[in-house]
Symmetry: C2
Subunit: 350 residues, 2 copies
C-alpha cells in the first residue's frame, strides 16, 4: 500500500447498463428511441462548417434555451441546460440538497439517485412504493432535505396526474421538489403548469428518449429563475461549457421540429399499447405504461429465465436483480418489426 | 425569505470569460486556435448518419481511448476521457484530493483551481511563484493533500523541463501530482515519459487548443491504470456518458491526423515568436512563451489602458485585474493577418 492511495476517494465503481452492438441484435434494454431524430438534425450535421469548432461553445446556450422557452411557454431564464439529464440531476443534487437533512425518493426508482447521494455526500431515505408500485404521496410528509422522483416512474412505467404532484408540493413547501420527467412525452401529464404556483419545483427533462438524441447528451431543468440561477452558479463552478457546439445546434433543430416529434412519440405509444395487449394475452401482467417501455411479469415463468432465453436469441431487454422487482422485465418499445421479433421469440420461449 | 432557500448551496456565481462575436472582431482573448480542425473532422460531420444519435454513446470511449493510447505509446487503460479538460480536472479533484489535507497550487495559475476547491470542499493553499513568475519547486516541499499546476503555466506562458517536474514528483511521493498540460503542444516538454516511473502522476491534456476543438469539449487524463480506474469510478457515479457520439468520432479523427496537427502547431509557434519579437521592439517585456499566447507588460503604458484601447478598436485580448499580474496582457496567437492587425493597432495606441 502506497501512501498516496490513502488520498484517493473510496467509491464503489458504478457500472453502466450492459451495451452491445452485435449484428442483428434487437436492442430493447436502454429505452432508446427506435426512430432517427428529426431530419433537421441531419441537416445541421451536413451544413456545419467544422471550422466553427475551434471556438468555445456558447456557455449560456442562448439559442437552445430560447427554443425550449418558446416551446414550453416559459422565459429563457427558467431554462437550465446540462450534458444529459444525468448531469442536470447531479447538479440539482449539489445545488438544492445542501441542508444536511436526508432527502427522500421512492425505493423503486431511477438507480442513479442513491449513487449521486453517495458521491455528493447527500444523506437520503427511501420511501417504499405501494404494493401496486404506485408512489404514496403521504410517504413524503415528513421533515426532509428535499424530494426527488420520476414521473412517470422508472422502471415501473407508472405515471401520475397533476393533482398527485400538487399534493406532494403542497405538503413540501420548505424544500426543493424535483420531478424527473425523462419519460413524460409518451402520454404522461407534465407538471410544468405548476411552475407558476410553486417556486420550489424543478422539472427535469431529456432529449435522449422522445427526441432520439441519446447520443448527444442534452438534458434541461425548467424552474423558477432563482433556482435556474443557482444551478447556473454551481455549473459554472464545475465546468462552464458542458454542452458542445454540435449538441446545442442539433438540440435546437430538434425542438423547432414539433411535428416530427409529436408523430414519432405517437407511433411509439401506439406500438406500446399494442405490444402490452399481446403480452397480456401470453400471460404477462403488464403495468399501464406512460413511457417508452413496458414493465411486465409472467404468471408462471421467472423473469430471469425469460431474460436469459431472449438474450440467447439476440434480443436484449432489461432485468434488475433487486428486491421487489426481481421477477419483472423492462422492455423498451422498438419499431413494430422489432416488437414482432420480441413477441414471436417470447411465444417460442413460453 | 422562504424556508426552501435555506437548502440551496451558497456559492459565488463564477462568471466565464467574456465572449463576443461582433462582426470584424479580432478575438485573441480565449486561447482558441486560429486554424480549423483537421479536415477529417469535417468528413466525420459530412458522413455521420444522424440516425446513430438515437443510441447512447460508447460510455467507455473505446475508439478514442485506443487512438490516444497509440498516439502516446500508452495502454488504453491509462487513458481517461472527459467533457473538456475542465471536466477531467474537476473529476481529478474529487477522485484524488480526498484526504482533507490542503492541496497546493501556484498563486498565479489557472483560475479554476480555487473554484473547484470551493465547490468540492477541498482545502487548499497557494504557493507563490517567484518574482520572475517561475514556479519554485521547493514551495511544494511540505505535507499536503495533493499538488496541481499547469506546465506550461497559465497565464504566464512559462514552461519547465522534465527535471523540474521530476524534482517535484521526487519530493511528493505520498500524494497525487497533477500536471495540467493544456498548452503543451506549442513547444513545451511533456512529462509523459515520467508515467513509467511515477504511479502517482496524472497528466491532463485537452483538444481545445492545439487540436482546434474547443467547441467539442474533449479532455483526457493520462496516468497509471489504478488512477484511471479511480477516475472512471467517480465519473460513472456522476454521469456515465460525458462525451457524446459526435465528439468521440471527431476527436478520434483528429488524433489520427498527426501531420495536420504538427503543421498547425508549428505555424502558431512561428507566428508567436515573430509577434513576441515585434512587441519587444515596441517596448513590451514579453515572457518566453511555450504556449499559444503571450504574456506581456509595457514599460510605460498600463496594461488596463492598452486593453481598453484595443477593445475600442474591436481587438479583444485578456486582462486580469489580479494582484501581481494586473499590469500584464494575455494575447492569444491568431493568424499572421490577425497579429498584423494587433500590432498596427498597438502602434497607433502607444
Amino acid at each position: 500500500m502506497k501512501l498516496w492511495q490513502d488520498k484517493l476517494r473510496k467509491i464503489d465503481p458504478y457500472v453502466p447498463g450492459e451495451q452491445s452492438d452485435a449484428p442483428g441484435l434487437v436492442k430493447l434494454n436502454a429505452n432508446e428511441n427506435p426512430y432517427p431524430p428529426s431530419p433537421r438534425v441531419q441537416a445541421v450535421l451536413r451544413e456545419t462548417n467544422a471550422a466553427s469548432l475551434r471556438f468555445y461553445p456558447d456557455a449560456n446556450g442562448t439559442d437552445l434555451r430560447a427554443a425550449l422557452a418558446r416551446h414550453f411557454g416559459l422565459r429563457p431564464e427558467q431554462v437550465f441546460l446540462g450534458n444529459g439529464s444525468d448531469d442536470v440531476l447531479a447538479l440539482c443534487f449539489q445545488a438544492f440538497f445542501a441542508s444536511g437533512q436526508p432527502i427522500l425518493f421512492p425505493d423503486i426508482t431511477y438507480s442513479f439517485y442513491p449513487v449521486w447521494c453517495d458521491l455528493l455526500r447527500v444523506p437520503f431515505e427511501c420511501v417504499p412504493v405501494r404494493d401496486d408500485f404506485r408512489i404514496d404521496p403521504r410517504a413524503f410528509d415528513r421533515p426532509n432535505g428535499g424530494v426527488v422522483f420520476p414521473n412517470p416512474n422508472a422502471p415501473t412505467s407508472l405515471g401520475e396526474g397533476l393533482d398527485f404532484i400538487e399534493d406532494i408540493l403542497r405538503h413540501n413547501q420548505d424544500c426543493i421538489v424535483i420531478v424527473d420527467e425523462a419519460y413524460i412525452d409518451f402520454g404522461g401529464v407534465s407538471c410544468l403548469p405548476l411552475l407558476e404556483k410553486y417556486e420550489n419545483l424543478v422539472v427535469v427533462q431529456t432529449m435522449s428518449k422522445s427526441r432520439s438524441l441519446a447520443g448527444l447528451r442534452i438534458g434541461y431543468a425548467l424552474c423558477s429563475p432563482t433556482l435556474a440561477a443557482t444551478l447556473e452558479a454551481v455549473k459554472n463552478s464545475y465546468n462552464s461549457y458542458t454542452l458542445d457546439t454540435l449538441a446545442l445546434a442539433c438540440g435546437t433543430a430538434s425542438v423547432e421540429d414539433d411535428g416530427y416529434f409529436r408523430e414519432t412519440c405517437a407511433r411509439i405509444v401506439a406500438t406500446r399499447d399494442k405490444t402490452a395487449e399481446q403480452l397480456r394475452a401470453m400471460g404477462f401482467t403488464v403495468l399501464p405504461s406512460q413511457t417508452n417501455f413496458l414493465f411486465a411479469t409472467h404468471r408462471t415463468r421467472s423473469a430471469k429465465e425469460v431474460f436469459e432465453a431472449l438474450k440467447a436469441k439476440n434480443i436484449f431487454v432489461r432485468y434488475f436483480s433487486k428486491p421487489r422487482i426481481d421477477n419483472y422485465l423492462r422492455i423498451t418499445i422498438g419499431t413494430p418489426k422489432e416488437m414482432e421479433k420480441l413477441l414471436s421469440a417470447m411465444k417460442a420461449i413460453l
